[in-house]
């Protein structure tokens, strides 16, 4: 893959008097990082919005050791990334003033940036001006105000942080209208699921507003990644969200490979594609069953679980882990498949795809389950585009971002990906998209296995020089994972940022459940099945 430097966004910005400079130590060149001036920040976001670009993420990084100024203070940079279906991703960076540490909010242009800006406030102590919602997000109320965990002066080992005893309660959205009542749900639920808090404002049995509160599974992954080598760090990246281990490991590996200018061998990229599509199939199968179970249609759940279990066992046999953890390494994959395993994988993928098609006809022939899913939890096209809904949730709502087509990173440059184009944005459409994706993934796996090239599965991994950063976007089963990695001294990572698709899709859920009856919420929630761990990091 040799791409020319992508100058499209820089030219568009230049048209509107926003001066930008390409950063030389950022890779890849087709997804460039542009340095802009601080006072152009918000205008640049507005320009991106006008160009109908999708906001990918907003994050920050302190300057690494290579970049410490004469005065000794560490510069603080804020980044934002946008994506355009034709012109790929573009990153913007600006340096904050050392004294004020202020940046203008871009939430006016992209509402999904708001939670990321709140995270900047929490983790770096950056003051975001004109932010529509200034409440803390990841840092819950027992954290002291002036402690910022991602700053270099915060030490994880020196646990000097005393929990705040007189913490003020989180200020949920409230209603003073008569007849509106609040239902607090979670973070501990009656079932065994991840923790998250939902605050409903309901009138009778109708949801007026649902507010999410996340951050209960914040594990400090970004902090823990600092100082790890890429080989070591990928094990952590693979554990960002357990159900998306291939996606996260691949995004991390891809960002590292871009940074060090290595390319995984062709056979390795094919194997990664197989792993990722198998993960997609397994998760969609499990989720369809779980959605039906939430409508008390247990038959489907049991059958889908059986199929998922078959896949997990095959994964354990062939790749050494039921969930495919630690199969991808920077520069390649660590498990090769022999001809026998190839046959087994091919056979099982076909059998399972056929069984799913059979179950799909049972699902389609049951009016009682159809009754529940059709028209439930709708997100319209305009809303989906506004927040940049990702993955199958976006594809169900008439917005079709798919990195496998847009960037066509290997192996997807060799296989055709057919995107299911849903329009209605309800639970039924999300299930439909998932069924279509299972069938398409099975086809892709078959094609990749048939044309699996011979050769190495591991390219020599040479860490890049200090200060070099890489950015990658991988289409995981939930949607696009964006990862940004900057290397420090000795091949160690000094900043890792990852945006799980859940960070965006959680907003989609909030939109989907307005005016939905309260007991339909679990059904809609499951149809999105956002990751808590992936969001909280």
């Amino acid at each position: 893959m040799r791409f020319a430097v992508n100058t499209w966004f820089a030219e568009r910005l230049g048209d509107h008097g926003i001066h930008s400079e390409f950063l030389a130590d950022h890779h890849p060149v087709h997804m460039p990082c542009l340095e802009i001036r601080l006072h152009d920040w918000e205008q640049a976001a507005g320009e991106a919005r006008r160009l109908e670009m999708r906001m990918v993420a907003v994050w920050a990084a302190e300057a690494g050791k290579h970049d410490i100024s004469v005065s000794g203070s560490r510069a603080l940079y804020v980044y934002m990334a946008f994506a355009h279906p034709e012109h790929r991703h573009a990153l913007l960076r600006t340096r904050l003033r050392d004294d004020t540490r202020e940046v203008q909010s871009i939430s006016g242009h992209y509402i999904s940036a708001c939670r990321m800006e709140r995270t900047l406030q929490d983790m770096f102590g950056i003051h975001v001006r004109n932010i529509p919602d200034s409440r803390a997000w990841i840092k819950h109320e027992h954290w002291p105000e002036n402690v910022h965990p991602l700053r270099a002066d915060f030490s994880v080992t020196r646990m000097s942080v005393e929990p705040e005893r007189n913490a003020i309660d989180y200020d949920y959205v409230q209603s003073s209208s008569q007849g509106v009542y609040e239902i607090p749900v979670g973070p501990v639920h009656a079932g065994i699921i991840e923790p998250g808090h939902f605050r409903f404002l309901a009138v009778g049995e109708y949801i007026l507003n649902m507010e999410e509160r996340l951050g209960y599974v914040h594990k400090g992954i970004e902090k823990a990644m600092q100082g790890r080598t890429a080989e070591h760090g990928i094990r952590l990246a693979a554990r960002v969200s357990g159900d998306t281990t291939v996606g996260h490991a691949w995004a991390f590996a891809h960002a590292c490979e871009y940074a060090s200018n290595t390319a995984a061998p062709k056979r390795a990229s094919y194997l990664r594609g197989i792993l990722c599509e198998r993960e997609r199939m397994a998760n969609h199968i499990g989720d369809i069953g779980a959605i039906c179970n939430d409508a008390a249609f247990t038959f489907m759940h049991m059958q889908m679980q059986r199929l998922r279990e078959d896949m997990a066992r095959m994964h354990a046999d062939v790749f050494g882990h039921r969930l495919l953890m630690d199969t991808i390494t920077p520069g390649g994959v660590c498990r090769d498949v022999d001809a026998v395993s190839c046959m087994m994988l091919m056979q099982q993928t076909r059998t399972i795809a056929a069984e799913v098609e059979h179950l799909r006809s049972i699902y389609a022939d049951h009016p009682s389950i159809q009754e529940r899913v059709i028209g439930a939890g709708t997100v319209c096209i305009a809303d989906a585009r506004d927040i940049g809904l990702l993955g199958f949730a976006g594809r169900a709502s008439g917005d079709y971002p798919d990195e496998r087509i847009e960037e066509a990173y290997p192996p997807y440059d060799d296989v055709e990906v057919r995107v299911a184009e849903g329009k209605l944005g309800d639970v039924a459409t999300r299930i439909w998209v998932r069924f279509e994706e299972i069938a398409d993934s099975a086809r892709i796996i078959g094609q990749l296995l048939e044309t699996l090239p011979e050769g190495d599965i591991q390219a020599a991994w040479i860490p890049p020089e200090s200060g070099v950063s890489g950015f990658a976007a991988i289409e995981s089963w939930r949607g696009e994972i964006a990862a940004w990695v900057r290397f420090g001294e000795g091949g160690c990572i000094d900043r890792y940022f990852v945006r799980d698709p859940s960070a965006i899709n959680w907003l989609g859920l909030e939109l989907a459940v307005r005016t939905v009856p309260v007991p339909d919420f679990p059904l809609v929630n499951k149809s999105f099945n956002c990751s808590y761990a992936g969001h909280d990091l």
Binding site: Y181, E182, I183, P184, V185, H189, A190, G191, I192, E205, C292, D294, A295, A296, F297, T298, F299, M302, Q303, R306, H366, S368, I369, E371, R372, P517, V518, P519, D520, F521, P522
Partner: protein, 315 residues
């Protein structure tokens, strides 16, 4: 004397067999889903576990919350003991009145709803409000369907109604078919089964019956769950009594009692298999469709009444 013994045996049997029956339904469902299931003894194991666990209670729980499990359990057991299972004429048959029966069940429901609201959690209140809304629609439908049989028996006493059915020549009454359908629909709703409620769900927001007892633990929870199982058996016995009482013992001699017991078991098991089949093939209704479902049951029962007057009076 002998009939009093039978009465005791019958009540005790209902109590002991109820968990087995719940286990039987669960096993049937598991088999229909191609699973092995946990076995018919599982509800008994659960109850034993719960009885040996300590009770955890909210600090502001009032006496209502603490006494409700006992009231609910006692009322349900009382209701169960007056419903004849094998012997038609028992010492308690005088109070075996369907209106009293419905009242006993309403008492248990009332305390369940109070207990749900007592703790002050959103789920308890939500469950109580849903339960009461549906009860207001379900109870008239249930009474209406029983009244179809009462009309021909000229009594609301269960024993007289059963005797009437046993003594009248076998004939197909369209009114009874209507009443049976209505009764089955109501029984599903009253026992919190699919498509109204899902007894095995873990989703707080969709619960009805489970939401009310969400805060219970230990022996309190055991009593509540046991009461729910007894209620399921009570309803199946009631349906058997009203619509297919043939084979029930009129005398207290051993042969007819054993025969009646066996037949009763068969009939109830048949009903439970039908329940498992229905639950496997159906998803839960949308909450706002439940009132339609229950009013449907009421209308069907009402049609039963009408058809009785049109076709069977004077015939």
């Amino acid at each position: 004397m002998r009939s009093a013994l039978v009465q005791f045996f019958q009540a005790g049997m209902l109590l002991l067999l109820a968990p087995l029956l719940a286990g039987f339904v669960a096993t049937c469902r598991a088999r229909l889903q191609n699973r092995r299931g946990a076995g018919v003894m599982q509800p008994w194991r659960n109850l034993r576990k719960l009885f040996s666990k300590e009770v955890v209670m909210a600090s502001h729980a009032s006496w209502i919350f603490r006494t409700a499990p006992y009231v609910v359990f006692t009322a349900t057991v009382m209701a169960a003991s007056v419903v004849p299972a094998m012997l038609v004429d028992t010492p308690l048959s005088l109070i075996a009145d369907v209106i009293a029966l419905v009242a006993l069940l309403a008492l248990s429901r009332f305390f369940q709803a109070l207990a749900g609201m007592d703790i002050g959690t959103a789920f308890g209140g939500m469950g109580a409000s849903r339960e009461m809304t549906f009860a207001a629609l379900g109870e008239p439908a249930m009474l209406m369907s029983i009244f179809v049989i009462s009309l021909s028996a000229h009594s609301t006493n269960l024993t007289s109604m059963i005797n009437h059915t046993l003594n009248s020549p076998f004939a197909l009454h369209p009114s009874l078919a209507f009443a049976l359908v209505a009764m089955l629909l109501v029984a599903l709703a009253e026992n919190g089964r699919i498509p109204i409620d899902n007894p095995t769900t873990h989703l707080e927001l969709t619960m009805i019956h489970e939401a009310m007892i969400l805060e219970y633990s230990g022996r309190h929870l055991a009593l509540m769950e046991w009461a729910a199982m007894v209620k399921l058996l009570l309803f199946s016995t009631l349906i058997v009594d009203l619509f297919m009482p043939w084979g029930m013992a009129v005398n207290t001699d051993a042969i007819s009692l054993v025969q009646a017991f066996g037949l009763w078991l068969l009939k109830v098991a048949g009903l439970m298999i039908a329940l498992a089949l229905a639950e496997t093939g159906m998803a839960k209704l949308r909450l706002f469709d439940v009132p339609e479902y229950l009013s449907g049951a009421f209308v069907i029962a009402f049609l039963g009444l009408l058809s009785f007057y049109m076709l069977e009076v004077g015939a």
